[in-house]
Amino acid sequence: MNSQRIKTWAWVHRWSSLVCTVFMLLLCITGLPLIFHHEIGHLLGTEIEAPKMPAGTPRVSLDRVLEVAKAQHPDRIVQFVSQEEDDDAIWFVTLTPTPDPTDNFKQVAVDARTGQVLAHPKTDEGFMFVMLKLHVDLFAGLPGKLFLGFMGFLLLVAIVSGVVLYSPFMRKLDFGTVRRERRPRLKWLDLHNLLGIVTLTWAFTVGATGMINTWADLIVKYWQHDQLSALLKPYQGQPTVPVAERGSVQQSMDVALKSAPGMKLSFIAFPGTSFSSPHHNTFFLRGNEPFTSRLLQPVLVDAQTGAITASPRLPWYLTALLVSQPLHFGDYGGMPMQILWALLDIATIIVLGSGLYLWLKRGHTVPASAKVGEEAHGAPAPLAQPASTATAKVST
């Protein structure tokens, strides 16, 4: 690579990383507790658990569950009902003032066997809530999400340009060399290169899937426009089905589950909400195999008649969104994977921090010998000096 190209890549690496570093540090630090949010929830006692009952204990009708939840918040409507993947004893009912997307929601956890209210999960306060909001949208809604998505894109640019620059830096060094007995800047340069290259694939994956996740709202909106609008032609001109005219949700659910043997319910979106149409209860079902359990099959059931209107295949972009979620969260391989996720996250924090340090200390500690080597190789400094003939043993 000639010196002009190295200079260009160095410029790209310097500015893409400088712009996003502060936000990436924030994301890495807030992401650390989020990796363990279930465990922290247990410790803080905010995780809701249903009392143990024998398997096969009869369940109350979902319509009754909805009545119970609505009685807690008579001024609100139900947007979603969901179940945890590994525990179908609890219904989580989400209530909002209108069917529109909002941050103003209340949840009620109802025991699926007794129909009793188990808890009012606090979804808008506490340490984990602050961590989540800082991580997802900086308390700024969709613009905040898209901004963080753009910072994620700059991170990807910084990673790619960093990989391009790895070669000129490591030309004269063995893999993993850390020159710790020289000045601190050289040690941190070597650590930056080492940790950057070993975490490369993981950081790129988590960065890219994080960026995709910031588009989730837009992707779902596009899905409605792209796929649902054709299905909803027969309903054109009709208003959102009034609550009083809706049929039994329990019966609709039975019909939906019967249409897809072997699948389990993930969540239900009610008429007029962002995951449904104005005229349907939409049942999102998941498969029962490790991979298919991460994908969702929507079943649109007419809210008045209780008959299935359609069961459209999930388009590729929603499949991509769903698959990108576990790859970002690191929650799909048990506790050892969560711990590895945390360690890789910490390594990324060190890469970001050392990169910032190398930039702040730029140009002050360049050894004369390094300059000689640099001229000999025609490789100028990006954020630091590449390995020089004078400072590293030649082994080729």
């Binding site: 070993v198 790859l327 590293a392």
Partner: protein
Amino acid sequence: MKHPHHGHFCRVWGWPIALGLLTCIGLVSALFSDGGLGDALAWVTLGMPVAVGIWFGWCRRHPRHP
């Protein structure tokens, strides 16, 4: 690359490519597993970059190169 010398390329990129492949295997294998072999494979393969980073970054006391 200016010096497409085989030995040179392997010396610079051998480790990074190996670790990248291991990471890919780990990230994907756990997607297709629920507490089974795929998860264990992911722990080993994703553990490699972590182990390599810790070993070269902090544990190795006597680097071969000055």
